[in-house]
């Protein structure tokens, strides 16, 4: 009853007959990266706007942004995934809902997955951006005002350029999180890396080879991102500033 290893499985053809199992995994990796990158762009845009709003003097706007962060941080990612996929289209006008549901695959799963991961991660990015801005000395904003800059100009030319540099390390770990979290999209049918490994297990029957390969690929991607970001951090580092320590935990 012990386990029979068979590492040659990666070169065996899949039942579709279109390629090897290794090829399946690499296509899965491509979808993992495509999902993560698209969602990341969305998260950066929404997160930055929200993060900035939370530091502005407009009380009601800040409260609204705080509400967004609370909402998206306190519902499990998987539940949010189901809400976007199953529930959201039912609340739209029927024609629009049907149009979303009938997008050809993989888009009908990919689009909700990106929206879900993007809005989810935006809450976390907003938290980092806010912390980054608040970590700057108050004098910076006053200096901006003293120079005759408007509030938006102060943010654009004084606060944000520095804030973004000092929150680069926590943003890196959020980016790593979004890559890992993209695996949750398998529950709504995105055939990303974990799903590809699972499919390989189902048809090739070699569970542990499939999962070992997926694990190695994730580790390699992880290490690659970390090195790329270290290089970027060094290039844009602002002497004298150390990033704020927003300890939020996460996966």
């Amino acid at each position: 009853m012990s386990y029979h290893w068979n590492w040659k499985i990666f070169w065996a053809l899949t039942p579709e007959g279109t390629g090897t199992y290794l090829h399946t995994l690499l296509v899965g990796l491509m979808w993992t990266l495509a999902t993560a990158l698209s969602a990341w762009i969305l998260a950066l845009v929404i997160g930055s706007v929200l993060g900035v709003i939370r530091t502005t003097p407009r009380k009601w706007a800040a409260r609204l942004a705080n509400g967004y962060v609370e909402l998206f941080r306190n519902i499990p990612l998987l539940v949010q995934m189901f809400l976007w996929y199953f529930v959201f289209p039912e609340f739209l006008p029927k024609a629009m809902g049907d149009a979303i549901k009938q997008m050809p695959p993989p888009w009908a799963s990919f689009v909700p997955a990106v929206l879900c991961l993007g809005t989810f991660t935006a809450a976390r990015v907003a938290e980092q951006v806010r912390a980054g801005i608040q970590a700057l000395p108050r004098g910076q904003q006053m200096a901006g005002t003293a120079l005759g800059l408007t509030l938006p100009q102060t943010y654009r030319f004084v606060l944000l350029p520095v804030a973004f540099r000092i929150i680069l390390p926590p943003l890196t770990s959020e980016f790593l999180n979004i890559i890992k979290n993209s695996s949750v999209a398998l529950t709504i049918g995105v055939v990303e890396l974990t799903a590809a490994a699972r499919a390989m297990q189902e048809f090739g029957f070699q569970v542990f080879e499939a999962f070992t390969a997926a694990t190695i690929i994730y580790v390699v991607v992880n290490v690659g991102v970390v090195f790329a970001m270290r290089w970027l951090e060094k290039r844009v580092a602002v002497p004298g500033f150390i990033g704020p320590a927003v300890q939020g935990g996460g996966h």
């Binding site: 609370e70 519902i75 994730y218």
Partner: protein, 230 residues
């Protein structure tokens, strides 16, 4: 297409959702906290150890766990733990590990890697002089750790440990991929059986939201309290 929002379906299935689903989720969370913090603390101590091999082993484990998605880890453990069990006790056949026990092991071992990093920061936040003072009093390594360093480390790190725990509570929903009946699993079974997924998923989101917000609020209060004492 699915008609108006039907509160009845929630009420009718409430006993099942709470008794079966929520009980599973809460028990799993509680056990995983206890075991996760225990193994996490061990891992942190190993990582800070002056024995290179131990430190490397712990670092490797922590980094591995932190770079792989939880979904993949859940699959890994569900299929692998019986073989590991057989290997540890020396049996020649895989040891039977049920869905619940397997989930407890998965979350304990996965969270241990996250708790370890938090505990490491906690241990390092305790002044070096405290360790020396412990040794000067004639305490050995374990005594110093247990009576001097760890109590302070826990105290410093409590808010972060609890925040991580709230995240873990949310993450237990991922056992859905194994068809295990946790709270979300129960909700999705009712949703699929009765075709009422709008109601069930919105309700599930609401329940998670209320619990997590209440939890974060308590953590914040605790944080303020600890801050005043120090």
């Amino acid at each position: 297409m699915f008609g108006p929002f039907d509160f009845g379906v929630i009420l009718r299935n409430l006993p099942y959702l709470l008794k079966v689903g929520m009980t599973f989720t809460l028990t799993l969370t509680a056990l995983a906290i206890v075991l996760g913090v225990f193994f996490g603390t061990l891992l942190a101590m190993m990582r800070l150890s002056s024995i290179k091999a131990l430190s490397l082993l712990a670092t490797g484990y922590i980094n591995l766990m932190r770079s792989v998605p939880l979904v993949l880890v859940i699959f890994w453990f569900y299929f692998l733990v019986p073989y590991i069990g057989a290997w540890i006790i020396g049996a020649s056949r895989p040891v039977q590990v049920g869905a619940f026990l397997s989930s407890v092991i998965t979350f304990s071992m996965f969270e241990a890697a996250y708790y370890a990093e938090i505990m490491r920061a906690g241990i390092q936040s305790v002044a070096r002089g405290q360790v020396w003072a412990g040794y000067a009093l004639g305490l050995n390594y374990w005594q110093t750790m247990a009576r001097v360093v760890l109590p302070q480390a826990f105290r410093n790190m409590l808010p972060i440990l609890l925040t991580q725990t709230i995240i873990m509570f949310q993450d237990t929903s991922l056992v859905y991929v194994l068809s295990i009946t946790d709270f979300l699993g129960a909700a999705s079974k009712v949703a699929e059986r009765d075709g009422r997924f709008v109601e069930m998923y919105v309700f599930a989101a609401l329940v998670y939201f209320v619990i997590c917000v209440a939890g974060s609020y308590l953590v914040k209060r605790l944080q303020r309290r600890i801050a005043i004492v120090r």
